[in-house]
C-alpha cells in the first residue's frame, strides 16, 4: 500500500533521514520505534507532505506522494495525527471533528461518522459543545484521533498517541488503535512506548539516527536482544 524508497530528509544542515526504506501493507499495523531524535516524526511528516524529501521516493499504491501538496495527500486517503495533540483550542469538539472531514465530498455521511466517533470516544460525545482547549490531555488526544478518523483515512499515521497519558489511558488508546485497525484502516504507528506498540503491531521497524537498523514481525523484533536492551528495558515478556 505504502512504500518508502531511499528517503533522505534534511532540515537545513541536519540530515534527519539517511535513506530509509519501508513498506506498509493494506490492513496492517506497522510500528516505527526509536529513541528521541531518531527521525520518527520526520518520516511521518514526509509521508503526509509536511516536509519534502531531498531524494528518494514515497509511493502510495503506485502513486508518488513526494511531489504532492499536503491537501492532495489527505484526499488520497492518508491522515496524519501529528505529535502533541494539536487540537483547535477555541473551537468546539464538534467543530474540530467537522474540520477533520474537511477534505471529504460526501457531505451526507459525515453526520453518521460523527456519531461513530462519539461511539468510539463517549467522552467526546458528552463534551461536543465544549471548546477543545478546555479538554484534559487525554481527551485532547482522543479528539485528535477522532478528528483524523473523520477524514475516513485508508492509512492513518499516528505520532506518539500515548505520550503523556496515564497508564490506564495508554491501554485504552492502544485498544482503540486495534479497534480502528479491525474496522479496516491501515495504521503506521510511531511510539516511544515500544513495549505496547510491539504488542499491537503486526510488523515493526527500528529507527536509529535516521537509519533503519531492524525490521520484521513485531513479535520477532520484540525478542531481539538489542531491541530489548535499548527500548524495552531488558526484561519484558
Amino acid at each position: 500500500m505504502l512504500t518508502l524508497e531511499g528517503l533522505h530528509v534534511y532540515y537545513g544542515g541536519i540530515h534527519a533521514l539517511k535513506g530509509i526504506s519501508l513498506m506498509v501493507e493494506e490492513g496492517e499495523i506497522v510500528t516505527l520505534i526509536g529513541a528521541n531524535g531518531a527521525g520518527k516524526s520526520t518520516t511521518l511528516r514526509a509521508i503526509s507532505g509536511l516536509v519534502r524529501p531531498r531524494s528518494g521516493r514515497i509511493l502510495f499504491e503506485q502513486q508518488p506522494l513526494h511531489t504532492l501538496p499536503a491537501d492532495r495527500i489527505v484526499r488520497l486517503g492518508i491522515t496524519h495525527v501529528p505529535e502533541g495533540r494539536r487540537v483547535f483550542a477555541s473551537l468546539s469538539v464538534r467543530e474540530n471533528l467537522q474540520l477533520g472531514a474537511y477534505s471529504r465530498r460526501d457531505r451526507g455521511e459525515i453526520t453518521a461518522d460523527l456519531h461513530r466517533v462519539y461511539e468510539l470516544f463517549p467522552r467526546l460525545g458528552e463534551r461536543q459543545n465544549q471548546s477543545a482547549g478546555t479538554l484534559s490531555g487525554g481527551e485532547q488526544q482522543m479528539l485528535a484521533i477522532g478528528r483524523a478518523l473523520m477524514a475516513r483515512p485508508r492509512l492513518l499515521l499516528l505520532d506518539e498517541p500515548s505520550m503523556g497519558l496515564a497508564p490506564l489511558l495508554v491501554m485504552e488508546i492502544f485498544r482503540i488503535i486495534k479497534e480502528i485497525n479491525h474496522g479496516g484502516t491501515t495504521i503506521l504507528l510511531v511510539e516511544q512506548n515500544a513495549n505496547q506498540a510491539l504488542r499491537v503491531a503486526h510488523r515493526a521497524y527500528v529507527l536509529q539516527s535516521g537509519e533503519i537498523v531492524r525490521e520484521g514481525p513485531a513479535a520477532e523484533v520484540a525478542q531481539d536482544p538489542e531491541v530489548r536492551r535499548a527500548y524495552l528495558g531488558g526484561d519484558v515478556a
Binding site: 502533541g84 494539536r86 483550542a89 477555541s90 468546539s92 474537511y102 463534551r127 482547549g133 535499548a230 531488558g234
Partner: protein, 367 residues
C-alpha cells in the same frame, strides 16, 4: 499576544464558566434592554443627522468613526480570526482611496461604482502582496506588510496622476452618514457570516494550529490569501469613504501611523472579536475628541488609558467574545484566552517525564 500562552496551564478550567452554557438571569434580563437601547440609539442617530441644524463637526466625527470601524473589522479578519500578523492596512486603504477618488474627480464616476472599483483594486493588491507574503510567519509577515505599506506611499508620492506629495484636491464630497452606515453594516454582516461559515472554521483552524490544519487537508495558503484579500478590499472601501469625506488626500494620511492606529483598535477590542473591533474603533475615534477639554494633556491621557486597558485586559476589551456571547445567545462557552493544544504546561511536563523514563530504562539496561 504571547501573554496568553500560560492560560492553558489549568487545563480543565474554563474561564467563561466551565461547561455551564445556560443563560444567566442577568443575561436574560438585560437582553431586551440592550436591543431596545441599540435600536433606539441607531434610530436617534439617524434622526439626529437629518436635522437641519446638525453640527457638521459631529457629523464628521461620526463618519470617521464608521470608517475606522470598517478598517478595524477588516484587519481583525486577517489578524484576529486568521492569526496572520499584518500591519500594513493603511496601504490598502490608500489604494482604495486613490482609485476611487481619481475615478470620481477626473472621470466623473458616480460614488458607488468608484468605491466598488476602489475595493477591487485594494483587494487585487491584497492578492498580489498576500500570495508571496503569507508564506512567511509571524514577525516576517509583519515586516513585509509594513514594507508594503511604505512602498505604496512612496509610489503614490512619485507618480504624477496622484498629485504626488501635494495630494489630490477637489475630490467631490460624496460621503454621507448613510453611505458610511450602509457600507459598515454590509461589511460587518459579510465578515460575521464568513466567520460562522465553513470557510470561517478553516480560518480559525489556521489561527489555532496551522500544522494541524494542513495535516487535515486544509489548503492553508488559499484561506490565508482569501482572508487577506477580503480584509484589503474592505480597507479599500474605507479609503474611498474617507477620500470623499475629507475631499483631499495626500500620501502622508496613509502612513505607518494610520496602520498602527487600526492595529491598536483591533488589539484593544480583542483579536478575534468583531464586536470588540467596532467598540474599540468607536472609542478610539471618539476619545480624542472627548478629551479635547484636557488640551495639551490629551495625548498623555489617551496613551495612559490605552496602557491601563491592556494591563487590565491583555486579550483586549472583549477577548474573543462577541456581543452574542455576552448576551448569552450562543450556547457555547469559548475560552477567553487563546490557548494552544500543543505544548501546554502539563503536556510538556508529561513529555519530559516520558523522556525521563526512557532514559532511565536505557541507563538501567546498560549497567
Amino acid at each position: 499576544m504571547s501573554a496568553n500562552k500560560g492560560a492553558n496551564m489549568d487545563e480543565n478550567k474554563n474561564p467563561v464558566g466551565g461547561t455551564s452554557t445556560r443563560r444567566t438571569r442577568w443575561q436574560k434580563a438585560i437582553q431586551p434592554t440592550v436591543i431596545v437601547i441599540a435600536v433606539v440609539l441607531l434610530v436617534a442617530l439617524n434622526l439626529y443627522i437629518r436635522r437641519p441644524d446638525v453640527d457638521p463637526y459631529i457629523l464628521g466625527v461620526l463618519c470617521l468613526t464608521g470608517i475606522n470601524m470598517i478598517l478595524a473589522a477588516g484587519l481583525n479578519l486577517i489578524n484576529g480570526f486568521t492569526g496572520q500578523f499584518s500591519i500594513g492596512h493603511a496601504g490598502f486603504m490608500a489604494v482604495g482611496a486613490y482609485t476611487a477618488a481619481l475615478l470620481t474627480t477626473y472621470r466623473n464616476f458616480p460614488f458607488l461604482p468608484a468605491t466598488v472599483l476602489g475595493a477591487l483594486a485594494a483587494g487585487m493588491m491584497g492578492l498580489v502582496v498576500g500570495i508571496p507574503a503569507l508564506r512567511l510567519r509571524g514577525d516576517y509577515l509583519a515586516i513585509v506588510t509594513l514594507g508594503f505599506g511604505e512602498i505604496i506611499r512612496v509610489v503614490i508620492n512619485n507618480i504624477p496622476i496622484t498629485g504626488g506629495a501635494q495630494g489630490l484636491v477637489a475630490i467631490p464630497g460624496y460621503t454621507t452618514f448613510y453611505w458610511v452606515e450602509g457600507w459598515l453594516i454590509l461589511i460587518l454582516v459579510l465578515i460575521s457570516n464568513l466567520i460562522r461559515s465553513g470557510v470561517g472554521r478553516c480560518l480559525l483552524a489556521i489561527r489555532e494550529d496551522e500544522v494541524a490544519a494542513t495535516a487535515l487537508g486544509v489548503d492553508t495558503t488559499f484561506y490565508k490569501v482569501l482572508a487577506f484579500t477580503i480584509g484589503a478590499a474592505s480597507a479599500g472601501v474605507a479609503g474611498s469613504l474617507y477620500a470623499h469625506q475629507i475631499m483631499y488626500i495626500d500620501p502622508s494620511v496613509f502612513g505607518f501611523f494610520k496602520s498602527i492606529e487600526i492595529l491598536i483598535a483591533v488589539v484593544l477590542g480583542g483579536l478575534g472579536s468583531l464586536t470588540g473591533s467596532v467598540l474599540a474603533a468607536g472609542l478610539l475615534t471618539a476619545l480624542p475628541e472627548l478629551l479635547r477639554g484636557f488640551a495639551e494633556y490629551r495625548m498623555i491621557v489617551y496613551s495612559a488609558l490605552l496602557v491601563l486597558v491592556m494591563l487590565i485586559r491583555p486579550a483586549g476589551l472583549l477577548g474573543q467574545l462577541e456581543a452574542v456571547d455576552i448576551l448569552g445567545w450562543r450556547r457555547r462557552p469559548r475560552p477567553q484566552w487563546r490557548t494552544t493544544g500543543a505544548g501546554s504546561g502539563s503536556d510538556a511536563f508529561a513529555a519530559v517525564q516520558a523522556d525521563l523514563t526512557t532514559t532511565d530504562r536505557l541507563r538501567g539496561a546498560s549497567k
